[in-house]
Amino acid sequence: MIRQFRDYDGDIRERCDVCVIGSGAGGAVVAKELAEKGFSVVLLEEGGHHTKETWNGKPTQGLIDMYRDGGSSGTLGNPFISITLGKCIGGTTTVNSATCFRTPNKVLLRWQMELGLDRMTRANLEPYFDRVEKIINVTELPWEVLGNGVRAIKRGADRLGLNCRPLKHNVRNCRGCGTCQFGCPEGAKQSMDVTYIPRADRAGARIYAHCRAEKLVIDSRKVRGVRGSIIDPSTGRKKFSFEIDAHAVVVSCGSLITPSFLKANGLKNRNIGRHLQIHPAGRVVALMNEKIEGWKGVSQGACIDNFEDEGIMMEGIFVHPSLMLAGLPGVGARHKEVAVKYPNIAAFGVMIHDSTAGRVYRIAKGRGFIATYAIRKNDMEKIKRGIAYTARIFFAGGALRVFTPFANMPVLDSMEDVEKLLKLKVKPNQMEMMAFHPLGTCRMARSPKLGAVKGDGESFEVKNLYVADGSIVPTSLGVNPQVTIMTLATLVAENISNKLFDETHLA
């Protein structure tokens, strides 16, 4: 049973083997794996529990209910980069596009060579990838479900000799409703809230929503428990408090919250909060000569990875008019002229394998944070090229006009304009940028000089304190990270299990 605010009538006191903070791709996996091994587990989540019965698939309610700060989070720098984070049971997996990739081999090699993570080989990780993919049912969908939006770009890619291929998704019986980012109205997306968390629940894990962890109890450099507040979701105010005593604590609050939470609790490792990588992204919107109705089909259906060597990944993306139209040019009559062409619109996203490293700072008390990320010139050039290439593909597919996210060239009318864009100098603050994959702020490494946690996920500073979320992923991946995070979390859970078993056994 998942307990929520309405189920609480007073303070909570619990004792357990492992307390997991955060129920996303990291925390849910650890909770399930350990609960199934017979450990007593408490899983805490700051957000609420929403199901297909309670959400309507529309952005506005989705942003209010399921996103941290209504989707207004981001990094400060040149420019502000919006980073949307889930805040609900299932974390960001509940509101992502369900796209699944294994960690690329070259990235694993880099982890081994630069950070001394010798166990991170393809052969070692293979069984963990298999295990995760089986549980979340990673599958390849047929083109009919992949979305009308990808039809246009596939036509262009075929004409240019590029490979537009279906993405893999963690779904079951997906009909292609296309509202993946605001809750799957069919319950087809196999996010944490419908896979790992129900299994953890069945295995006896005690799951508490609306619980905000505030303090780690650390005694003699060993973690002893977690303290925090139960939050009334209607006011955002503290109503009750909780005290969880635990042999081990796993922090899985995501790459932006975890470092500020650890710093707030006195951890000093210099790598905590550094090495933030986010896969900066931009959208390319094409006005086609035909009816596309891009909302029919999964919102992120296909990808073009021909430019992977340049660090550029193109992936489909289509969203509700309330988000799509805000980013297109025009106010008043001109806005309405563009809006009525919404059925003729196709869109595709570009994200880059970034080399820029940002940073997360803790502000004041508690878990408040400021993230900074000043995109480097080479990354900016990469993203501009990616957008120009995507525009070229759209024109080859028959686009009449292409809208870019660049303020100094927002509209392209022909292939010649694409060439002009390639030569154009674009400053970072001339682009409307977004990102969806913050990683690396408590990265794993061989030594505390290189990372914040060991290869098994345990803190270098505090015994039995583990981290399992996107923050331990050591570097940018260049692909969607949820499978990597789940796989690393499975490894962390196995390490905790072995260690706790040894401790109990010896005792």
Partner: protein, 150 residues
């Protein structure tokens, strides 16, 4: 999420006028923001934002008022709806990042609360078979003829 509305009094009036300028009545489809009470819903969105961003919102609206005064000799809410639209469109083409961000945020809030109403999304051809037909909680109520327009 705080419990107090972010937009009230003059900031609500300015936001209402911004919304009316972004999506005016008539043109490519008949409906306009002025026909609907969208402020309540906009407040719900803003209350879910990080408090520091939400608190800045009235100041952003004040900036729009003052900026229009400097350019046209009148505050934004005293401009005709066409002039107000043109003024906001000018911000969209501005070389200054903060002006472009300002109009982007305004368009985002406006589009979020306007197009979430099924009948309005349908006017631009968006109909979705999978979604339950629903009216957003307590918002998007069509204004009565007496209250309509300004």
């Amino acid at each position: 999420m705080g419990s107090k509305p972010v937009l009230k009094g003059s900031s609500a009036a300015t936001m209402r006028y911004v919304m009316n300028a972004i999506i005016p009545e008539g043109g490519a489809f008949p409906a306009g923001a002025s026909q609907y009470d969208l402020i309540h819903r906009a407040n719900e969105v803003l209350r879910s934002y990080n408090p520091s961003i939400a608190r800045a919102f009235p100041f952003i609206l004040l900036y729009i008022q003052a900026s229009a005064f400097l350019r046209h000799g009148r505050p934004f809410t005293r401009l005709s709806i066409e002039k107000a639209g043109a003024f906001l469109e000018g911000m969209e083409h501005s070389p200054f990042y903060h002006r472009r961000m300002t109009i982007l945020i305004m368009k985002l809030i406006t589009c979020l609360v306007f197009y979430e109403i099924d009948e309005l999304a349908a006017q631009i051809g968006y109909t979705h078979g999978c979604l339950r037909a629903s009216r957003p909680r307590g918002a998007g109520k069509k204004k009565s003829a007496a209250r309509k327009g300004r």
